[in-house]
């Protein structure tokens, strides 16, 4: 077994992951914060205003990274759900369930900022644009996963059921997306594409990529933080959790 595989095997053990995530957490938050600061500086100060949309296009810098993250979080959740169901790894169950609320938060931001962008661009707060509609369905899928997870008493069974639902969702997501595109072209003329096929200028692109990087790092920071909490709750009877508590150290002394 090479050291890389060995590392993943060790990472699967809750106490090891708890320490590992605890070590990385401050760094991840710091990197995300610095990258976001640089990205926002670029987005608000150095990027020139779009010649068609004026300054409203600056909403893109929060809208697009969040849209990417909404999908990325879903993929991460489904991949971990798959691992959890096939190999029954407890950590993967926890990781999958930890990424659901973050993904829902990102999708929610995407929807609201899309609406804020739509008002000056299209003249209405909401249009049934194919992308926005798909995002709405994605948000409902997230709500379904979170709702199912909280409706079942047994934590591990709840995680497995919700992970299974996430997997069903991932089979369904492409069908939903393409059906929405078909439906959209049937019912509406050309809508203004928010991100056109035209090349985006480098001075406009680098803040976007920086912010995408920041949101990815933030996603992992948040997943780590949530997973740590969930592991504490899940393993509350175990020795490694007890060793973390101040009271036991006092009683051992």
């Amino acid at each position: 077994m090479n050291s890389f595989v060995l590392f993943f095997h060790k990472l699967g053990s809750p106490p090891y992951f708890y320490r590992f995530a605890g070590k990385w957490l401050p760094w991840l938050y710091a990197i995300a914060l610095v990258a976001a600061a640089i990205g926002f500086y670029g987005a608000l100060f150095t990027a020139p205003a779009d010649y068609q949309q004026g300054d409203s296009f600056r909403i893109m810098y929060v809208h697009v990274p969040c849209a990417w993250m909404g999908l990325f979080a879903y993929l991460f959740m489904a991949a971990n759900g798959f691992i959890a169901l096939v190999w029954r790894i407890k950590l993967s169950e926890t990781l999958a369930m930890a990424s659901a609320p973050i993904g829902a938060a990102f999708t929610f931001i995407t929807l609201v900022t899309g609406s804020l962008w739509g008002k000056p661009t299209w003249g209405t707060w909401w249009t049934w644009d194919a992308r926005l509609t798909s995002e709405l369905v994605l948000l409902f899928l997230y709500f379904g996963v979170i709702g199912l997870y909280h409706a079942i008493e047994d934590r591990r069974q709840a995680a497995r059921a919700a992970a299974f639902l996430a997997l069903i969702g991932i089979v369904n997501l492409p069908i939903v997306h393409y059906s929405v595109i078909w439906w959209n072209t049937l019912h509406q003329g050309q809508t203004v594409n928010l991100i056109g096929p035209s090349k985006i200028a480098p001075s406009m692109l680098w803040p976007l990529l920086t912010l995408a990087f920041a949101t990815h790092v933030y996603f992992f920071a948040s997943v780590f933080a949530r997973t740590r909490v969930a592991l504490l709750e899940l393993e509350s009877g175990k020795d490694w959790v007890r060793a973390l508590l101040p009271a036991t150290q006092a009683s051992h002394d």
């Binding site: 169901l85 369905v137 409902f140 899928l141 709500f143 379904g144 709702g147 199912l148 409706a151 079942i152 069974q157 497995r160 059921a161 299974f164 639902l165 069903i168 969702g169 089979v171 369904n172 069908i175 939903v176 059906s179 929405v180 078909w182 439906w183 049937l186």
Partner: protein, 227 residues
Amino acid sequence: MKPGTTSAACAAVLRRDLMLVWRRRGDALNPLLFAIIVVACFPFALGPEAAVLERIAAGTIFVAVLLAMLLTLDALFRSDLEDGSLEQLVVSPHPLALLLGCKIFIHWLTTALPLIIVAPLLAQLLQLPAPVLPVLIIALALATPLLSLIGAVCVALTVGMRRSGMLLTLLVLPLIVPALIFGAGACNAAQNGFAYAAPLLWLAAWLVLSIIIAPLAAAAALKISLS
């Protein structure tokens, strides 16, 4: 058919479920009444002008049928869970997916088929143009099994819960959006004189995929819920 074989087990499940529905045939009419009432509400809300109703007819019938079926999904495994026969299905030596497939088929036969049969009546209430009616029937015939199949997977996930109605709706509706889009879309296309074969074929393709995958998924989901 030799007793103990898989086909005998399937036949037994089919017979038992049909008999259960037959003994409570009054309840089986409820989704029908529900769909008719929902459809009848629309003219009250929108006014009786034929032009308005005609325009929304196909979509309204689709939504009413889907909602009526959603109401019955909740009970798909309920009585089996309460009398313990669901566990018997899970531990039986026959493939669980096949047995669940039989149960799903009976669900479709007893709730969706009556709805499809009254669809002409619903269409008449909403002044749907007569040439669109065959398209509506075909679209419903393709979309309702999808709802039974996908719904069964979600029911299997929520089977142990006391109050699963709202949650079940939340789980099923996002997954069923394409059926609504393609089904009602085909009717609208036919109504406007466009080609409507493509959405129906898409529905059919999706149905074939679901017939194969959904019983397997429902079996896996049921094993998770009952573990």
